[in-house]
Amino acid sequence: MLGITEQFRDKWVLLQISGEIDMATGPELRQRIVQYVQEGHLHIILDLAKVDFIDSTGLGVLIGGLKRTRSHGGDLQCIGLSESLKEMFKLTGLDAVLTEKDV
């Protein structure tokens, strides 16, 4: 199960994600990000505080979102990382590119 709620702040879209991001639910999140970029919302913040689980396909969605927003001059950032998510970002080298942002 994946929950997504959106808030618009200045030029940022803040998405609060809850549940699990895996091969079953990842496509929905990917689709949402594609749609924001199409609509011109190029700055996306993902609040992952309520994400219980993310796997490598979920990381793939984050990387895809990062590439998509940046290639349009925008950005994607992740906040609310739990200890185990931080660990996973480190393991995969993602921590270097998907940095936390103070909102």
Binding site: D22, S56, I63, T92
Partner: protein
């Protein structure tokens, strides 16, 4: 692995969370199993199952994925078996490193390297009839003076 549990699922992504729930429940049978290692095992098994499900893309839906889960005094062992076309694991991850430059140019390829980092032991047996990934995570000794 004569004892322990066996789970068969259709090769569909929607069953992944069920597989994770089963592995967590099975590991919970051993109270010595630490939370962090439980997270490691959950993720590693999920990665293996994701690959197994993908490998069935061209198979009929009757062909199941089998997950076997065995607990012994010092380890939990999970085996994920598919009937997919198989692959050569040595060709896939020559370096196994995730932080090479340009790594972000593609969005996949994290699964096997992650499993290698998360599990204490991993064996991949792949042939034309399918692949079996065996993951082992050690449980700490149950005496308190560790």
């Amino acid at each position: 692995m004569n004892s322990g549990i066996t789970l068969e699922i259709p090769a569909k992504a929607e069953y992944l969370s069920l597989v994770r729930a089963v592995v967590v429940s099975a590991a919970a049978l051993d109270p010595a199993f630490e939370n962090q290692r439980l997270e490691d095992l959950r993720l590693a098994v999920s990665e293996a199952t994701t690959n197994a499900i993908r490998s069935h893309a061209n198979l009929g839906s009757e062909e199941r994925i089998t997950i076997r889960c065995g607990l012994t005094s010092d380890r939990i062992e999970v085996e994920v078996q598919d009937r997919g076309p198989g692959f050569n694991p040595e060709k896939i991850t020559p370096s196994g490193s995730l932080d090479e430059p340009g790594r972000l140019n593609y969005e996949g390829g994290f699964g096997i390297p992650l499993m290698r980092v998360l599990a204490d032991e991993i064996k991949i047996n792949s042939a034309d009839e399918g692949t079996t990934v065996q993951l082992v995570v050690y449980t700490p000794p149950s005496n308190d003076n560790s």
